[in-house]
Every structure is written in structure tokens, then in C-alpha cells.
Symmetry: C2
Subunit: 218 residues, 2 copies
């Protein structure tokens, strides 16, 4: 057991650089399809040099996933603190936060979504725990909404995971030049989740009026 290596700031910075390059490579080729040599080439570090910063290829994936999840969760907590108490408003904020982070960190989030099964113990467990925490957060928001509106027939688990499906599938099709940006996408998906396609009945901006409640509620 060696004592923790003392690292200069530049070293931490270089690790971040390597992680950014690895993210891009995993994004392009997938975890299994990518080679350490690809990452060395892109980061302009020698093959052996990478192993000064990281113990294995798997640790690279682990660090990328852990960082992405941790940052996303932190941003969510920060946003929800400033939010109102209406379940709908809070859920809309959750969706917007998720999508903004998702599109701002497209590469990392694809690696997080697509390589969910690529880590093995002990790395897998730690990321899985973060995922559970994030899921629990979303589930509670939907539970609150369900309770407020008396939605007794709603399967919360299916609803939440369907919402995640809509949001996480985006990396397979979203084209920044063609498709709506994060905010507009969030309104769209929140509208679908809350009111279905009918949410778009009257006008494109109907969602603004529905921000504080269900416009069709009696």
C-alpha cells in the first residue's frame, strides 16, 4: 500500500485533459471498441504515460461516469433549492436541468447512458449507487405530482422510466443544427409527460400558461 502520490496542480489538470479526450474517444467508438492507443493519440500522451494517471482503461470509464453523474446531481440539487413547491414546477425544472446538462455534455452523457453495463465490480457498484440516487430523486418528484393530482392509476416506476427513456434516448437522434435546444426540448417533453400530445392543442407556447398548473384541470 503506497501513500497517495503528491500531485502538482498541473497534474490534476492533465488528468482532466486525458479524461476529456477519453470521453470523446468512448463517445466515438464505444468503450469496448476504443483502445488505449486511441486515447493516447488523441491526448498526445504516450501509451505508457497514460498509466501514470490511471490504473486501467476501466478506471477511465469509471472516472468519466462518476464525474458526469456527480456533476449532474449537484446541479439538480442546486436548481431544486431555488425552485417553488409546486410538484409540476419542480418536475419541469428537473426535466429542464437534465436536458440542459445532457446537451451541454453530450459526449459524457452518451458514455454514461450507452456504457451503463460496461463497468465491472468494484467500479460498477459505485456508479450504480449514483444512478439509484438520481432515479429516487425523479421518482419522488413524480410521486408528489401523483399525490397532488390523485393519479391513483399511475404506475410511478413505469412513468419515471418512460420519462428517462424520452430524455436519454435523445443522444441517438438529436441534431443540434436541426432540433430544438435544451429549453425548448424540455418544454416539449414536459408537455408530453404531463398532458400527452394534447398539450400542444392550441399554440406552441401554451406551455407558458401551464407553468403553474394544469390548464385543463376542472
Amino acid at each position: 500500500m503506497a501513500t497517495a502520490v503528491q500531485r502538482r496542480p498541473a497534474t490534476t489538470q492533465k488528468l482532466d485533459h486525458i479524461l476529456a479526450c477519453a470521453t470523446r474517444v468512448f463517445y466515438d467508438k464505444g468503450y469496448e471498441g476504443a483502445s488505449i492507443r486511441d486515447i493516447a493519440q488523441r491526448s498526445r500522451v504516450s501509451l505508457a504515460g497514460l498509466y501514470y494517471y490511471v490504473e486501467s482503461k476501466e478506471e477511465l470509464l469509471y472516472l468519466i461516469q462518476k464525474h458526469a453523474f456527480t456533476t449532474l446531481i449537484a446541479r439538480l440539487e442546486e436548481q431544486l433549492e431555488r425552485a417553488g413547491t409546486s410538484p409540476e414546477a419542480r418536475l419541469r425544472l428537473f426535466i429542464r436541468t437534465h436536458l440542459e446538462y445532457f446537451l451541454q455534455n453530450r459526449e459524457a452523457m452518451k458514455v454514461l447512458s450507452h456504457e451503463a453495463e460496461s463497468l465491472r465490480p468494484p467500479f460498477a457498484g459505485e456508479v450504480a449507487e449514483l444512478k439509484r440516487a438520481y432515479y429516487r430523486r425523479a421518482r419522488n418528484l413524480v410521486e408528489d405530482l401523483k399525490q397532488e393530482r390523485g393519479l391513483k392509476g399511475l404506475n410511478t416506476r413505469v412513468a419515471v422510466l418512460s420519462l428517462f427513456g424520452m430524455m436519454n434516448w435523445i443522444y441517438t437522434w438529436h441534431n443540434p443544427g436541426r432540433d430544438p435546444n435544451a429549453d425548448a426540448l424540455a418544454e416539449h417533453i414536459a408537455g408530453l409527460f404531463l398532458d400527452g400530445v394534447g398539450a400542444a392543442t392550441n399554440s406552441t407556447h401554451r406551455h407558458k400558461a401551464s407553468r403553474n398548473g394544469r390548464p385543463r384541470a376542472g
Copy 2:
């Protein structure tokens, strides 16, 4: 250029067996993570023997994806022929057909969804064409619904791809012992897509009454 090999029925059958085994291996380990040796072992064919049936590992993936997509599309066309003309009923049937096939062919559908980027030309193009055809089908169904209901604010592309997101994400979480079966899942997701979480306001079986129209429409 050799003439097409004449194959006995048993040979075609054995190819199917190999494809089934390959599907399982790709399902478990991913395309890049799986080795030809894994597939040989599972199918009880020697490593070299596999190459009598297939020219490359990539062709295995191609055949799996092509078969899954073709069968799915055929089943959809068959179902839609018997369907009524109501846009909602047709869309509900689409969702149910997709999910039934998805859960019945869980392994192949994960391979189809998860390995969408693993094929390279010329294989990639042919599968992409099937995907486009399938997407177009879904898009038309939603367009019909949109027109019937005057949903001018609905971004059809986003709506359809969100629907695909809900459905295709299922392979990441669905647990046959715990979660609803295909039909129940289809009702749930159709409810979400058509009316949002509000679709579950009154009772679990409210969807039955809404089969022929929107229960909340004025």
C-alpha cells in the same frame, strides 16, 4: 465470383441456430465485447466452422439486425391492415405491436437498439433504410393524429422520437417478473403519449374507455 452455394434445409436451420446464439452473446457482452470464439462455444460449432456460414463477425450482426427489423415491420403491417381507421386506435396498435415484439424478442431488440452504430458500410446502409421506413410509418401515424386533433403546436419529429425513446429504453430496465407485460406496458405508454400522466386520473382501466377517442375531449 462464386455461384450461390446450394444449401440443404438443415444448413439454413443451422445458420438460424448460429444467429440465435450470436444474438445471445451480443446481448450479453455487446458487439465489440463479444468474440467469435464466444459464439463458436455457445453454438457448439468450431471457430473455423462458423466461417462456412458467415463471412465475418459483422455479417452476423447485420443478419441479426436485418431479421429483427424485417420481422417487426412485417408484423406491424399485418396488424395495421386489420386495424380500424381511427388515428388513435392505429397508434395504440402500433405501440402494442412494437412492445409485444420487443419483449418477445428482447435479446434481438437490445442488439438492434444498442448496436445501432456498430455496423459499417455497406451493411450499415441497408439497416438504416429499414429504420427509416419504420420511423416513417410511426411518423405518419402521429401526423394523422395531429391533423385530426388540430395539434398545431406539436413537433412531430420530437414527439415520435420521444415515443421511440420510451419504448426502446425499456431494455435497460424492464424486469419480466416485476414489471407489466407488453399489453399493460403498451396501455401505459400510449396513455402517457396521448394524455400524459393525467391519463391515469380515475382508474387503472380507464384506458379501455378511451380506446375509441379522447375521454377528456369536449
